[in-house]
Point group: C2
Chain length 261, copies 2
């Protein structure tokens, strides 16, 4: 059996998340669409494993999955074959053949998530499905300072979503940047323009809702409702109730998954 | 009666174009949504006039409309009031009070349209509703040369859509640029990335389908299927059948409308 890795992207707007909810549920998931496409192409019924189990409404440009298959479809044909049968809001970019022991989730050594805030007075047409519209002044420099407090090895219990059964809440954030970017298409004359505020966080793993909870917390600092030092307190308290809100799913993108080979 | 100008944007994907198709038709249009919103807010039933009658599926970031109204809603409240009742894929950015003789269409002295081609191997998730995906190598420098042939005062009959009843097919293109831009979100590791090719054309007016027909023609040059000089021949022939295809609506954006005051 070949072990195939696919690198893919999706618009998560119409999906109940990446992961199949199990037998008997009717939820539309990225996993179910991929498995259906593989069966359509090969006649084989295969379980796929995703690197990141993105929530409902979360998008991806660099998700990775793997699955075992007998079909002899050449590697370079996989993206074209899959894209021919997948819905248009899921796109396969690349296929790689992996050793039999490759596992898309367990062998990921680093994941990158980006979160986009549309900071214009009124929502950008282009970004309305893909960013969180927040029309208030945001202090990006202070949010960057606060992000650096979260960088490194920490117990991220304060940023873990309710109902998670993770035993070890320690993760290592290797980089966390906050920048303001111009909105493409936002330079038009006569248009009230703004910018996008982009949060980029790389870590060896993430707890449930961790990125969205960290972004919700940094936004409190960015709006000058809390000082930078408050983020250190939130982190130390290990209590979800003290952190900021969970930022909406639509602004979150799984950007990349890194493997050591 | 006040004469109000609104500057607005929309995602045209779900609409049958800007303009109302007349009584008895059930088509969903931008115009009908705007008129319904105005009636909801003011109780007044008003006809709006749009600067550009964009086709089905065409987007806008800088469309202008005007209408006469008695309601005393303060100017700065109009965008908020309209956005509160409009569907989320139509966004009002700004309101201006105009002289009684201001007419959004007749008094426009220049319009800017942009056309986006997603030139990556596989479609960008972000741009899939907003750009035409064309995964072939494109020679941007040659398309720019061809665009300059179209700049100036010309009879654009060769680029006019069928069924148009325009008497004077002469228009003045004041600028026409073709550039390659990076795709936002396309720099991720492990992702097959490409770029956007952006066509920007400013003119004193446009014939039906003129931008999409010019883009379809320039793309023939960009793909090296026709030489640059062919565009001059197409222009001189005044025959729609010799030009390139009509590029799909989804890549077209009404960017800005300029008035002399």
């Amino acid at each position: 059996m070949r072990n195939i890795q696919l690198i893919l992207g999706y618009d998560g707007t119409s999906y109940q998340g990446f992961q199949d909810q199990g037998k008997g549920t009717k939820a539309r998931t990225i996993q179910a669409e991929l498995e259906k496409a593989i069966t359509t192409l090969t006649g084989e019924k295969r379980r796929i494993i995703g690197a990141g189990r993105t929530d409902a409404g979360v998008h991806a440009v660099g998700q990775s999955v793997n699955f075992y298959i007998q079909a002899a479809i050449p590697l370079e044909r996989w993206p074209y074959a899959m894209n021919a049968v997948l819905p248009p809001d899921i796109v396969v970019y690349e296929a790689r053949e992996r050793d039999p022991d490759f596992h898309a989730r367990y062998m990921a050594i680093e994941k990158t998530y980006c979160y986009y805030v549309d900071n214009a007075s009124f929502p950008s047409i282009l970004w309305q499905r893909y960013a969180y519209h927040l029309p208030y002044p945001l202090d990006v420099a202070l949010m960057q300072q606060a992000a650096e407090i979260l960088t490194g090895d920490h117990d991220f219990t304060s940023f873990m979503g309710a109902g998670s059964s993770i035993k070890n809440p320690i993760r290592r954030i290797t980089s966390f940047t906050v920048e303001r970017e111009l909105v493409p298409g936002g330079e038009a004359e006569g248009l009230v323009t703004g910018g996008l505020v982009k949060f980029t966080v790389k870590a060896n793993g993430f707890l449930r809702h961790m990125v969205r909870n960290m972004v919700g917390t940094l936004l409190e600092v960015g709006r000058h409702r809390q000082p930078v030092a408050w983020v250190a307190e939130v982190l130390a308290t290990k209590d979800r109730r003290v952190a900021g809100i969970t930022a909406p799913a639509r602004g979150l993108w799984l950007y990349a998954v890194r493997y050591d080979r």
